[in-house]
Symmetry: C2
């Protein structure tokens, strides 16, 4: 297991992306349970994976289960919150003053995990000066951008501009110190190796829902058939 130390001097274990995805899923499952202890078998069943995989994933956390009892649910959640730094405050900027950008500025869910939008930019100078709640839309100029990034220690930007502008805007952000791009555009972005892009992928979570509904609809009709045949 590779040990890293981040810029704040906190030791971090390197965790592969796909493992992180599963840990995120386990966290959701644990939040939904209401018990003191939980076994890897129980989590595995709810997540649709093998209990062996769950135990292997948990080896990335600083926690051990107890024989028979399993894991303490709250301790496990605390470890997972730590992994995703849920408790640490994070300042982000939004680029794109359109409806999606405005929606991010006013999104309810961020406050519960310490995320704050400190500025909103637009690459169309005509929109600069307009208000979104209590934030003024700023013009996307290197000078202003650099100052905001420095003042609020921003490392992450949500990008909601038009597809045709996306790459140019991201280049500008990266030149001025942004190292994490939260990409709401359908564009596949090119960035230097030290920059991370996470595609916000509204479409992809919708496709997942579609698939699940398709399957479930069948299971339901199968179940009602089974019911009918018992009558």
């Amino acid at each position: 297991m590779t040990l890293l130390k981040n810029l704040r001097g906190v030791a971090m274990i390197y965790i592969p992306y796909v493992v992180l995805e599963r840990l995120k899923e386990y966290r959701k499952i644990l939040l939904n349970l209401d018990c003191e202890y939980v076994t890897s078998e129980e989590i595995a069943k709810l997540a649709g994976v093998s209990s062996d995989l769950v135990r292997r994933d948990f080896m990335y956390l600083k926690i051990n289960g107890q024989k028979k009892k399993g894991y303490n649910r709250i301790a496990l959640l605390t470890e997972l919150d730590e992994t995703f730094a849920v408790k640490r405050n994070l300042n982000i900027i939004v680029v794109g003053g359109n409806r999606l950008g405005q929606a991010l500025v006013t999104y309810d869910g961020f406050s519960s995990c310490g995320v704050r939008v400190v500025a909103i930019f637009d690459n169309n100078p005509e929109n600069a000066g307009k208000f979104v709640e209590d934030l003024v839309i700023l013009s996307l100029e290197p000078d202003i951008l650099r100052r905001v990034i420095k003042r609020f220690s921003v490392s992450i930007a949500a990008v909601c501009v038009l597809p045709k502008d996306a790459q140019r805007v991201v280049d500008l952000l990266v030149e001025n110190g942004i190292v994490g791009i939260w990409n709401f555009t359908p564009v596949k972005l090119a960035v230097p190796e030290n920059v991370i892009v996470v595609d916000a992928d509204l479409t992809s979570s919708l496709l997942m829902l579609k698939r699940l509904v398709d399957t479930k609809v069948f299971q339901k009709s199968e179940a009602s058939n089974a019911y009918t045949s018992q009558e």
Copy 2:
């Protein structure tokens, strides 16, 4: 392997949620590659999992790799598109006429995967009648809701209402035939067993980005140290 048939009579294989999550990830990776054949080892490396797991996941698809050559990339993508029914048209409704709801109505990325927002509802009667692009905001009344759902064969609704209204709105949707809830509220929704909820989870993809940036920032500084020490 369990074989299902969905309501359109298409045979579907039951795939656990966590496997679907990985298949989605592989699909993204394959879209990003530019080669004719790809091995499970190559995909595994990019996804951060074992090649054994990749091969096991691909057993859910109707595709076989060739010895040494690996999988035909386009054939694999076609199978994955089939799995998520990317090509099939899907009508959804949006509930909540606020900024996020409006953003969904005008989101660029949907058209590329056949998704169309056919109506937007608001539970505040005052907002009914206002326009979002070319859609009129409809009042959330059972009668109107039922007609729209029937007319456009809608099974999925995006829910963007205030947290305090979320459960009541979802109850109403479910009563009137919605079986898939795309939940943009931070509320943990209670639904009958035959209804699927997918949390859109803006916060969760942001937390993932935060984690990746934290780790990457360290790797970068480690790399530049290594560079310095070679000088």
